[in-house]
Amino acid sequence: MSRVLPRSPWTWLVVAFWVVLLLFPVASSDLFFQNMIILSLVFAIGAVSLNIISGYGGYVSLGQSAFLGIGAYTVGLLSIRVDVSPFVFVPLAGVVGAAFATLLGVIAMRTRGHAFVILTIAFLLLTQLVLLNWPSFTQGSKGLSLPLALFDPSIQNWPFYYALAALLALSVLMSWRIRRTKLGMGLIAMREDEDKAATVGVSTPTYKILGFVASAVFLSMAGGVYAYYLNFIDPRGMFDIVISVQIVLSMLLGGRATLWGPVLGAFIIEPLNEFANQSLGGGNSRLLIFGGLMALVVMFMPQGIVPFAGELLEKRRRRGQDAIVGARVERPLVIREREDAPVGHEVQPGRALLDVRAIEKRFGGVRAVDGCSFVVPEGSITALIGPNGSGKTTAFNLIDGMMRPDAGEVWFDGRRVDGLRPWRRAHLGIGRTFQITRLFREMTVLENVVAPLRSFSWRQLNADAVSGPEAARAEELLEFVGMRRYRDEKARALSYGQQKLVELAQVLMLDPKLILLDEPAGGINPTAIERMGEMIRRLNRQGTTFLIVEHNMPFVLGLCDPVLVLARGTCICEGGPEVVQQDPRVLDAYLGEDFVLEEVGV
């Protein structure tokens, strides 16, 4: 997961692995093992690549062998027509694989978890079917024979061996790099909570496509090398869904979302595959072994070997140390001034930063928001109050883009935003926290805060997230909310109040002009409420506008001006705290008509 591997034992294992891998063909001329390593390398490239979309991004694909096949067929089809070394076409195999991945990514853009798996299975079986049913181009089920490799016998299969080793090195390097960038953070954020990721500026469709392309490129190239190595390819052998399963299994067994886990898994699974084929006759026993093993891994060791071992080491390392969480929870949260102001735009107090015009949202027959209009003046701390079910949270969802209104308009900072997706609105400067905190649970506190994307650019995606200016800025924000010392803890380990603070820091990373806070004082202790209020005031003085939904009336009335009152989906009243407190419509909305009638009667 997001664990930084302890340096010593792992580093030595990795170095030893590469030394053995690179020297093996020189030291031993055993072709059986050479073959086994070559196949393991293909699996390893597949598993490391798959890990980017599945391990980081959370989207499991059962169609990865399609990319192996696409690469193989790209090289195969070209090499029987053009008389040069098939190695020449290997980069092209990567391009073709990337093109197919992009296409599939575009189709998958709007789908979630389950549909994505279905799509990848359909893609695999459809490409196989097309190759089978198009014999004039592909020679169909007869398969393709590639030119024989005529290397000097003394170097055996070295060219294939080292080409694949190089591709594995490249895939691991890519995986390592992605894990450190904003792209990687965004992918993991998407895995943890896709809707939430969108509200912090992560344009999920783009991330999905990029993640999918990244998990296809090197695998397709490996497929090209593999085809040349085999000399013969056919659609059933190359587009075999069991190979997809073995790639997934390699990743799961070794440890998803880790750098080396998929490599380890592949070097376990492939020899097992050889064993099943050689000693057990392949076919049914191969299905039983890999089906059974995957079932066992999913049920009993879903985290995989590397994280499992990592946890053991970590436990040993931490023995005797105080856990940070728990030990210091009682300490007061300290707010410190930040060095630079969180927002750098010009504030024009009083102009309408957010202008909501007659928005409506219906759920079946329920009109949750029903022609609601209000304005949030720039530089204000505006409250949005109202009884339960009056449409406050729905209004938030319509403003930040989690939902689209059925009617009405939302204007922000002088432009209409109701048609924009959540991440576009985040880029424009709308930040939002949730009533029940929604941090990315498996990410550390620091990673949670660096995950947001302020604006979309390719350079930003490739920007270093875990060190450098982004990380420094995140630490500053954590300092501001008093959570810096928890930076390396998993978000799920924090208390509810702490999560609220981290979520605030996370939103601040967007440099928002407007922050929507959904019950910032809900469920936390009175001291923390006070500090929360103080932070809001401080940020407001530095230029951030707030719109706050809150049930804690003393908190609202002491902090906010103006106060908007929502009832039955419309804004029934607005004004200063004193005005709203006196308004009979507000009493009516909160306490019901009976109460008012009696009052009138008395």
Binding site: S54, G58, Y59, V60, L62, V106, I107, A108, R110, T111, G113, H114, A115, V117, I118, L119, I121, A122, F123, L125, L126, L129, V130, N133, D195, I241, V242, V245, V248, L252, G283, N284, S285, R286, L287, L288, F290, G291, G292, L293, M294, A295, V298, M299, P302, F363, T393, N397, M402, M403, F434, Q435, I436, R438
Partner: protein, 294 residues
Amino acid sequence: MTEFAQAIILGLLIGGVYALMASGLSLIFGVMNVINTAHGAFLILSAFLTYSIWTATGLDPLVAILITTPAMFGFGWLLYSGSIRRIREAPAAASVLLTFSLALVLEGLMGLIWGNTSHAVRPAYFNQSFTVGDLFLPKAQVYGCLVAIAVLVALWLFLARTWTGRAIRASAVNPQGARLVGVNVAAVATMTFAIGVATTGAGGSIVGVLYPFLPGSHYLWISRLLGIIVLGGMGSLPGAVVGALLIGVGESLTSTYISPQWTTAVPYVVIFLVLLGRPQGLLGARLREDVAAV
């Protein structure tokens, strides 16, 4: 024109059979948010059971439904209790991987028991047809479709009229709410999975008569059924029926006017087009994602 009408009718007849199995798949998804990718393998297992019953006793395969349906119900119950229940709290992808691994294991087991060769159940009426005007209605298809409709109606009545059926539907709409009004959601999940799998009991017996099959056929079937529920809207039972009829007709038209070897492409292409244009499917509703209740 006759050719066209013939293709439509054959498509609808087979679509009726698809509808039964797709309903089971969609029911499981709707209630449990699990895509049972082993549904195709269960179907082939039931076809093999039918084959064995038929060869051993000569019992009509469509009567064998009375045995295969409860057998698959029990099988589903056991599988759920023994494996899938363990990962109820795991991320969604885990259930797909688990059911898919079950499918592979089943494929391997069926290969060991019955062999990896093509099998077929051929009762006497196998190659007879009714003739209506210029149209031929193969008896096997007609009987198969009628039986499928009968089982489907029984399933709908069960869901609509019995307390358990209502509990299942309630759990699909709102598990927390169902729990509040006294539904044992965990038990309902087991029941739902078993009922969903039971549809492959009847379905498999019918399929055994209509098509030759071998253990590896389950990929074809699961793709077809997935195509149906994606088209109809995942989790929607009316959607499963509509999707099944459309896919049945689509395959039949493709076979008549393009080429039989491209019929298997129909579900794949449908999956691509639906996910691109209307990811929620024809009758699937975009549910309110209750942000506060997550």
